[in-house]
Symmetry: C4
Subunit: 259 residues, 4 copies
Amino acid sequence: MDQIIKKSFRYQVYEQLDPTAKTNGLSMLNKVIIAIIFVAVIVAILETESTVRSLSPSLFIYAEWFFAALFSVEYIFRVYAAGEREVYRGFTGRIRYIFSIWSIIDLLAILPFILTLGSYNGFLLRLFRILRLLRLARIGRFTRAVDAIIEAMRSRSYELTISLCAAIFLLLFSGTCLYLLEGSSQPDDFGSIPRALWWSIATLTTVGYGDVTPITATGKFFAGLTALTGIGMIAIPTGILASAFSDAIQKCNGNSKTQ
Amino acid sequence: MDQIIKKSFRYQVYEQLDPTAKTNGLSMLNKVIIAIIFVAVIVAILETESTVRSLSPSLFIYAEWFFAALFSVEYIFRVYAAGEREVYRGFTGRIRYIFSIWSIIDLLAILPFILTLGSYNGFLLRLFRILRLLRLARIGRFTRAVDAIIEAMRSRSYELTISLCAAIFLLLFSGTCLYLLEGSSQPDDFGSIPRALWWSIATLTTVGYGDVTPITATGKFFAGLTALTGIGMIAIPTGILASAFSDAIQKCNGNSKTQ
Amino acid sequence: MDQIIKKSFRYQVYEQLDPTAKTNGLSMLNKVIIAIIFVAVIVAILETESTVRSLSPSLFIYAEWFFAALFSVEYIFRVYAAGEREVYRGFTGRIRYIFSIWSIIDLLAILPFILTLGSYNGFLLRLFRILRLLRLARIGRFTRAVDAIIEAMRSRSYELTISLCAAIFLLLFSGTCLYLLEGSSQPDDFGSIPRALWWSIATLTTVGYGDVTPITATGKFFAGLTALTGIGMIAIPTGILASAFSDAIQKCNGNSKTQ
Amino acid sequence: MDQIIKKSFRYQVYEQLDPTAKTNGLSMLNKVIIAIIFVAVIVAILETESTVRSLSPSLFIYAEWFFAALFSVEYIFRVYAAGEREVYRGFTGRIRYIFSIWSIIDLLAILPFILTLGSYNGFLLRLFRILRLLRLARIGRFTRAVDAIIEAMRSRSYELTISLCAAIFLLLFSGTCLYLLEGSSQPDDFGSIPRALWWSIATLTTVGYGDVTPITATGKFFAGLTALTGIGMIAIPTGILASAFSDAIQKCNGNSKTQ
C-alpha cells in the first residue's frame, strides 16, 4: 500500500512522458508537449516566409534556441524515464532505447541544431517533430479509430492494389496516346511519355491544372475520354473503401454485442 | 373550452412567429418571412454589383429601408410574443430573451442600419439573416434529416478527425517537399512553406487552379505523387461518411420497427 | 384465335411504334428510330462546326431535309396509331394525343423546320429529339434501374436537400468573404458578390478553372479553407447516396426473397 | 510415384512459365519475367525523353536488343511448353496456340523489332507487354479481387449505364447551352458544339483545366449550374459502386459461412 502512494520520481516522469503509460487519455505534460510541438512547427513554417521573418529576425532565432533547449531537456528525461520499462533498463537498455526508431527521430529533431550551434535552418528537424506526433495518435480512443481505418484498408488490400494497377495502366495508356497525338504540335509538353504523364496525372486525378492541355481535335477527343475515365478512378477506390468501412464497423459492432 | 377558442392576441402572434410552436410544418407567416429573407439576401447580393446597382440606385435604397422597417416590426413582435414562454415572461424575461443568441442575430440584422440611418452597406446584416434561416431548418421533418447527418458524423468523429490529421500532415509534407524542390526556381510561388501550401491545398483537394504549378522534373514527379494521394484524401472521408450514414439509417430503421 | 392471328394494320403500327406496347425489349422499328435519332443528333452537332460543314455544305442540307421528312412520316403514323389506346380514340382523342407532352416534343422537332422551309438551323429541334430518347429509357429492364436510382434519391430527399442548403450557404459565405478580402485588389473578378460567386462555385465543386484566383495572403488563406470544405461538399452527398442505394437494394432483395 | 518425381523437362518449363499452372502464387521465373517487363516498360518510357536518351544513346539501343532477345527466347519456350496442355498438343495445336489472343500479343511485342532489325521505335511493342501483365493479374488470390470488382460492376450495370446516359445527356445539354450563350463572344472556344463539349467535359468531370472559360454573365451562370451538377455526376456512380461492393462482399461472406 505504501508502495502505491510513494511512487518513485522516475516512475512519475515515465507516467507523465510515455503516452502509452496511461490508458485513458494523455497526461497533462504530454498535452503541453504536443502544444509546444505544434507551436514549434508553426514557427518553423512561418520562418521560411521572408516577409514574416523580416518583421523580427532575432525573435525567430530566440524561438529556435528556446525550442531546441526545451526538446533537449525532454529528450534527456525520456532517456532517464525509459528505465521504467524492463527492456530499456540499465546502461545497455538505455543504448537500446536511444537506437529505437522513435528515439532516433527525437534525437534528429535536436542534434543538428545543437551541433551547428543554431546555424542550421531548423525545418527538417521540425519535420521529425511532426513525425513524433504520429506516435501520439496511437493512444486511447484514437487507437480504435486508426485500427478501424487500417483494418478497413487491409481487408480490401487486393481490390485497392488492383484499382491502383488499373490506375497506373490508365495513366501510361492515356499518356502514350497523348504523346503520339500531341507530341509533334507541342514538343515541350507532350514531346515524351514522361512529359505527357504530367498531363495524364493532372487529368485522371481531376486536378486539371491547365498548364498543359491538348490543342489538336483528336488530342482533345482522347483527353475527354481520359477525363471521363478519371471519374471511375475516383469512384472505384471510394466504393471499395466505403464498403470496407461499413463491413469493418459491422464486424466491430457484432463483436462488442457478443462480448 | 372557451379558453381554447378565444386565444389571446399574444398567443396567436407567438404561434405564427415561433417555428417550434407548430409541430407539423411552418406557419403561414413564417413562410412569408422566409421568402422575404430570401428576397432581401438576393437584393443585397445584387446590390454589390455596380452594373446592376447603377440601373436604379434609388430602388435599392428604398428596398433597404423597406426590409429594415419590416424586420424591425418583426423583431418587436418577436420580443412581445416571447412572453408566451415561461422563461421569457415579464420584463427581466424579455431582457433575457433579447440577449439570447438568436435574438442577438435578429437585432444585429437591423440595428446597424437604423443607427447609421441607412448609410451602412447592409450586407453583413443580411448575412445574419441567412444565419437565422438555419434555425428554421430545425423544424418538423427536417429535424430528423439534420439529426441523421449530425449523428452520422458524430459516430465517426474519431475516424474523421484522424483522416483530417492525415490530410494536414500530407498538406505540410507535400508543401515542404515542393518548397525544397521548387523554391529556388520559383521564389514567388514556392519560396516559403506558406506559399507552397497554397499549391498543396489546390492539388490535394483536386481543385487545381493552375496558377501555381511545378516546373522542374523532380517537382513535377512529387506533385504527381501528391495529386494521386489526393484521391485517397477524398476517398477515405467519403467512405467513412458513407458507412456512417448506412449505419445511422439501419439503426434508425431498427428503432422504428421495435417501436 | 383468328383475331389473334389477324392483327389490324393500325395495331401492328402501334405495336412497332409505342415503346410501352412490348414488355420485353424494344421493337425492331423503335431500335431503327433510335439509331436514326442518334445519327440526326450527331449530324446536328457536327454541323455547327464550320470546318466540318464547309467540307460539304449541301450534304448537310440534304441530311436535314431527309431527317425532317423521316420524322414527319413517323409523326403522322404515331398520331394514326395512337387510336389503339382508349384515351386517344376518335377525333377528339387524336387532338388530346397531339397536345400530350411527348407528342408536342415530337412536333416541335419537325414543325419549325417545315414552316421555315429548312432555313431554320435545326439544332434546337434535335434537342427535342434527345428529350424523346428519355421516354425510351423507361422500358423493360431499364425501368427497374431508373426506379432504383429515383427511389434511392427520394428516400433521402431531406438529407440531400439539407446538404444542398448547406452547399448554397457555403457558396454565399465563401463568396462574401472573398469579396470583402479581394474586392479592392481585383475589382474585375471579386468586385461584387455575384462575381465572387463564380470563383466560389469553381472552388467548392473542385472544378478550379484558375481564371480567377485570390492574390492576397488572407484571400488565399480563406480560399484554402473553402477548398478543403469542398471535399465535404462532395463527400456528404456521396455518402448519403451510397447508403441510400445500399438500402434500396437490400429492401429490393428482401422483397424478392419474400415473393 | 516415380512419375511424380521425374517431371519431364517440358512440364517443368510449362510449370515455370504458365501463370495458371501453380494455384498458390507465381513461379520464380514468372516473377523474374514480370520484373523484366516492368524494367523494359520503364526503359521504353524514358527512351522517349530526348534529354534522357542523349545521356547515352547506345545504352538504350543495347537495352532494346537485349529485351528483344530475351522476349524472343521466352516466346519460343512458351510455344514449346504449350504442348503440355491438351488443346495445344502437336503441330496443329502449336499453330492454334500461336494464333491465340495472348500469344499474338506476345509475338507483336517482339516481331516488328526483329523484322526491322531494331530500327523501329519499340514503344508500341512495350505497350503489348503491358497488356500481357493483365494476364498475370488473373492469378491466385488476385483472381478473387478482380472477380469481386467485375461482379460488383456487372450487378449494377443498368444503374451505371443509366448514369452514363444521364452524363452524356448533361454533357450535350450544357455544351449546347454554352455554345448558344458564348459562341458569339468566343468563337474559337465555343463557336460550335464539339468545341463547347471540350469545356463541358472539363467542367462536369471537375477537371477544370481553365483553358476555356465562359466570360459573359449568363454563360458563367449556366457554367456554375453545370459545375454543381458535376458533383452529382461523381456522387451517383460512386454511390452505386459503393453499394454494389458492399452487396458483393456480403454475398461472398454469406457463401463462405455456408460452405
